[in-house]
């Protein structure tokens, strides 16, 4: 049988914000499997802010996404054909097949997962890269202590929601920053944060000050820009900042930091990190996160776009904060 794969390629680099015409949907025939290969029908594609950085041809922590190739990205799916001894048809797997419906691999970087107690899509969110990102920044950089105040931006998102819930479990006051009253309500009522500041309400610093009466000891930074400035001004002496995302910057003009001297006067530690450079913590983090999700102690929310063709639009929406929870594309 000759099957067709649908793929989305990056065909041009954005000048300013990403636009739909930076992408192109193509159909390609699937070649027959070679020996030792495995073919996966992807069920979900993960959309993440880091992808915007890869679209630029700029010096960063990772090489740029090549033009006219399938956009990179994490996927979960099911093995539909295999000549690889470690994978059988029906196995559920997580991998990095990118923006396409089928992936073919020699097995490298492909991991079997168990969706008995944890939904398959969660392996792209709370029990995947975003979850481990939150776990690492909180536990290995911030090091939360009971009674401390931890603030996280993009609090309703895939990373932020994990950070705040883990901070609560560690005995901290968890304060989120999110865009809009609906997201803030979700952060407090469903995720159980102590407070959430709506940065779109126009009183960011005053509202954050009110939500952090004891100042801020740990800050997990997902966005940069004005939110970074405001939180820096609330940091307590010896505060610790895990710098994970600068989404405010990916798509627009430079956003300077207004008061870098606060890092000195408050003797702050700031540590930028990329979770894929800390693979040693993944097994421990995934075990803990998987258990918490299975026990319903760790909640998450998903924004699901239906169909590969919707991926560009959903991705552009993500960069504008239009998603609500982990942004996925359902491919099946």
């Amino acid at each position: 049988m000759s099957q067709t794969n649908r793929q989305i390629l990056l065909v041009s680099r954005p000048q300013g914000p990403a636009t739909p015409d930076n992408f192109r949907l193509v159909e390609t025939p699937l070649a027959a499997l070679e020996a030792g290969q495995v073919r996966v029908r992807n069920h979900y594609l993960s959309l993440d802010p880091y992808m915007r950085g890869r679209m630029n041809d700029a010096k960063s922590y990772a090489p740029p996404q090549p033009l006219n190739e399938v956009m990179l990205g994490g996927t979960v799916g099911e093995v539909v054909e295999s000549t690889h001894r470690d994978f059988a048809v029906g196995d559920k797997v997580v991998g990095m097949f990118g923006w396409q419906e089928y992936g073919t691999s020699n097995g490298e970087g492909l991991h079997k997962v168990d969706d008995t107690h944890v939904p398959l899509s969660a392996y792209l969110g709370a029990v995947g890269m975003p979850g481990v990102t939150g776990w690492y920044g909180l536990n290995r950089i911030i090091g939360p202590k009971p009674g401390q105040t931890v603030v996280v931006s993009a609090a309703s998102g895939a990373v932020g929601s994990v950070v705040g819930q883990l901070a609560k479990l560690a005995g901290c006051r968890a304060v989120g920053i999110a865009g809009g009253a609906e997201k803030c309500r979700y952060v407090v009522e469903t995720l159980g944060f102590d407070a959430c500041v709506d940065y779109k309400a126009g009183n960011l610093y005053a509202d954050l000050k009110a939500a952090t009466p004891q100042g801020v000891d740990g800050y997990f930074e997902n966005v940069g820009g004005a939110v970074f400035d405001a939180t820096l001004a609330r940091m307590n002496p010896f505060g610790r900042i895990a710098l994970c995302g600068m989404i405010a910057r990916y798509d627009g003009a430079p956003t300077p930091l207004g008061h870098p001297e606060l890092m000195l006067t408050q003797r702050l530690l700031v540590q930028g990190f990329i979770v894929t450079e800390h693979l040693d913590v993944w097994p421990e983090a995934l075990r803990e996160l998987g258990t918490l999700v299975a026990q319903k102690k760790l909640h998450y929310r998903e924004s699901i776009a239906q169909g590969l063709e919707r991926a560009p639009e959903a991705f552009i929406g993500l960069l504008k904060g239009q998603n609500f929870g982990k942004q996925l594309v359902k491919l099946i």
Copy 2:
């Protein structure tokens, strides 16, 4: 006998740059010693950038200098009268008597020093607070490894000169940033740095790039502002920044950081610190620094103003970078 003490008080807070009329010289009679006290004739007063921060009535890591009191500051001198069992006339001591010719104390915070092999004034510089500051930032934050490149700003100053020389002793490429060709020549020819960039020459980034062909692994930040921005743009992945001074900010308008996202994309560690909060390292650091000075392996230079009345002018010059090496006032 009734002696007179000369003192300089802070009488007003600066609006913008510090000016001579923020200070006032007064003469006060010295009271007779009480039991358990020690009187010191100060030989040298240390002038340091941190004092500018204390002149403001602003939230910082330390309380503001009170108005109409003697300006704070480190001093070295000789005991001239003592009813304290641990101090005898003729002892050389280092303390925090501030901007005055005589200091009277119950002995707290006063330390005897040996000027046989180390000049007395060095206890305010390379073998004092500035030296320990350089030692701490380099050894405990940057953690230099042989072959790495370490950059330090204000490189000819009391802190910077120690940082670069210790980095050389650790097997690193040491690159200084200083203001003016004369300072840069001194940094390379006398202190033994591998290179020095003159930030006043107008090509800061290009010159720094040429001086750091392998990028920058460790950065000891003494000044902030444009120098911070330029060096941040040269940082290698996993670079480490010891944030010690923001002198560019003390006296003027806010200086934003243009590209804070580099802390993320290069996965940098930035740590602000104040050396007086790390008293545990002082004995080890002072032992090492004292040995290096006595062995003539650690060089330093002093700018000496003669007479207490010159202190305000010398201090204002220090904030403008007009000093060349450790700024002292000779009081005797």
